[in-house]
């Protein structure tokens, strides 16, 4: 088993030196083996999404190192790091280009990390590949290859973004609360698709979520964060037996506070 992601003691403070100073990540370290699917949970401002953005290279970290598939990517800019990563965002608007067609979005994703040349953007052969990939979603999108993505619903867009993230197998799939903006039924469907794509492609994945139940049900590992630190790192058999009550209990024990997010309990 190869180590796919290694985060080594990273720190990030936003607006350092101003009254808005916020320590977002305060010494986070963990690593993922190939094929690991970790769910990351925690209250608002715990640093979950910030950690994920640090891995994605949205901005440079203040200190610490990040390795993906053994390569030190700490200093790589976001678009250069993209060749290692598949990403799905919280806002369904973020993952796709709305004024472009479904096939164009997929073609752009198929060329992730490659040089953009002056050859035609979507070939006939790939069109067929995309059609069969879309068919696996079972959303009727396979007949709408040339439709603008802007015409699709949030759930459909997240499903397409998931496909896009996996067309070219990434070393690591980053899911940033990607079902939080969807209605419960659609969210369940998108989660189901996520599980399937991760399993079918044997992906290593990291899923940030607000929802404790989702965090327990999905993946083989679970990380809980609080105030920019990892306070819980569970895997294997222990993860399988975990319940929401256990998690709440653990959270109170480690943090000395009550779990502050109503959303996590209610949803």
């Amino acid at each position: 088993m190869a180590e796919m992601l290694k985060i080594d003691n990273i720190h990030k403070t936003f607006n350092a030196g101003t009254i808005n100073e916020k320590v977002a990540i305060n010494g986070v370290s963990f690593s993922l083996e190939e094929g690991d699917f970790v769910t990351v949970i925690g209250g608002n401002g715990a640093g979950k999404s910030t950690t994920l953005n640090a891995v994605a290279g949205v901005w440079p970290v203040d200190s610490g190192k990040i390795y993906i598939g053994g390569d030190d990517v700490t200093k790589l800019s976001e678009h250069r790091r993209a060749r290692y990563l598949g990403r799905v965002f919280q806002d369904p608007m973020t993952g796709t280009a709305t004024t472009m067609s479904i096939e164009e979005n997929m073609a752009i994703a198929a060329r992730r990390g490659k040089k953009r040349r002056l050859t035609w953007g979507v070939t006939k052969a790939e069109r067929e590949t995309y059609r069969s990939l879309l068919k696996t979603l079972d959303l009727g999108l396979e007949d709408r290859l040339t439709s603008k993505v802007g015409l699709l619903s949030g759930g459909q867009r997240q499903a397409i973004t998931l496909l896009m993230a996996s067309i070219q197998k990434p070393k690591l799939l980053l899911l940033d609360e990607h079902t939080a903006a969807l209605d419960p039924k659609t969210a369940a469907k998108v989660l189901e698709i996520s599980d399937k794509i991760i399993a079918d492609n044997h992906l290593t994945a990291m899923m940030v979520t607000h929802n404790m139940k989702d965090a327990i049900v999905h993946g083989n590992r679970l990380i809980m964060m609080h105030e920019g630190k990892v306070i819980l790192n569970i895997s294997g058999e222990e993860k399988k037996k975990l319940t929401v009550e256990d998690l709440l209990h653990q959270f109170e024990k480690v943090s000395g506070e009550e779990f502050a997010s109503d959303k996590a309990l209610l949803s």
């Binding site: 994605a56 976001e78 678009h79 250069r80 993209a82 060749r83 990563l85 990403r87 965002f89 608007m93 973020t94 993952g95 796709t96 280009a97 709305t98 004024t99 472009m100 164009e104 073609a107 752009i108 994703a109 060329r111 992730r112 990390g113 490659k114 953009r116 040349r117 002056l118 050859t119 035609w120 953007g121 619903s153 949030g154 896009m164």
Partner: protein, 313 residues
């Protein structure tokens, strides 16, 4: 009613070929504006400077014995250089886009004066074998000038249609539509912003060079308010023809055609305004009002439509 007696309908008819030719030439500039404003989502005011640069470069080259066709190519390259500067100011130096383009535009004013040595330079169709000239409009050779202008426009539309279908063109469109998505897909947004600004201003420079030959002179002030004319063309084209283009095969080519059509309509309207003997001093004010109206129209329509049917998600 009395005023209508002074208006000569034949004069209006006579002015139309000129208006259409002007629309075709400025339509090339409008295509440049379309690239930045619509595809890249970048308000690029470099245009006002690079249009005059294209004209200045072409006229000075022709006066120095360079082939007028070659001068068009060099004007295109000069425009690209202007776009490159705006792109660098924005991406490498972090200056907000609109401000970066204003800085380039202002500096181009001085540069254009330096290129020409004074504020305007003539180039006579009698002395040089120009690509297009106003002079032919009223003569038998007017078929040639229209053929030239139309072929130019069609060739550029064809090239743009191809380019924006390539991997690189798609990367530019993704950058303009959703930079976050673009970066997540490994697209260098900075690189593609610069490329798009260069292509756009290249077309603007080419348009300026054609227009200078058409007019028989280059003028340092020719570009003043060009961006407004470009926007007007883009928006008139959209408002009038977007329904016709939507969902069609080659929809993008039709959209580009509609930009040219928008420019032609703009010049026809301007000619009507002049024909009505409205003071030409007020033309820029009139243009601005037209653009403001057409810009506001889709917004107001959207606002009204939203109230009509709220649930859609």
């Amino acid at each position: 009613m009395a005023i209508l007696m002074f208006l000569d309908p034949m004069a209006l008819v006579r002015s139309m070929p000129g208006a259409v030719a002007q629309g075709l030439i400025w339509g090339i500039m409008a295509l440049g504006v379309y690239i930045t404003y619509r595809l890249l989502d970048f308000a690029d005011l470099t245009v006002d400077g690079s249009l005059a640069t294209g004209g200045a470069v072409a006229v000075m080259l022709i006066r120095n014995g360079v082939n007028p066709w070659v001068s068009l190519l060099v004007a295109f390259l000069a425009g690209m250089l202007a776009g490159f500067v705006t792109g660098l100011l924005h991406t490498a130096l972090g200056i907000p886009g609109i401000l970066a383009s204003i800085l380039t535009q202002i500096s181009l004013y001085s540069i254009n004066l330096n290129i020409m040595g004074r504020s305007n330079q003539a180039v006579s169709v009698d002395k040089y074998n120009l690509v297009v000239s106003l002079r032919y409009i009223s003569e038998s050779a007017k078929v040639r000038i229209f053929a030239t202008c139309i072929l130019f426009c069609l060739a550029i539309i064809l090239l743009l249609y191809w380019y924006f279908g390539t991997e690189q063109g798609q990367a530019i469109r993704a950058t303009g539509c959703n930079p976050q998505m673009a970066r997540a897909q490994g697209i260098s947004t900075n690189f593609h912003i610069v490329i798009a600004l260069m292509l756009s201003n290249g077309l603007v420079g080419l348009s300026g060079a054609l227009y200078a030959q058409f007019q028989g002179a280059a003028d340092v002030n020719i570009g003043r308010g060009a961006i407004v004319i470009g926007l007007a063309s883009v928006i008139i084209g959209e408002v009038l023809f977007s329904k016709l283009c939507e969902g069609k095969r080659f929809a993008f080519a039709y959209t580009l055609l509609s930009v040219i059509a928008g420019a032609i309509i703009y010049y026809i309207v301007i000619n009507v305004v002049l024909w009505l003997k409205l003071p030409s001093d007020d033309l820029k004010l009139f243009s601005a009002i037209v653009v403001a109206l057409f810009l506001a129209l889709p917004y107001l329509k959207g606002k009204y439509m939203k109230k009509e049917k709220k649930s859609n998600g």
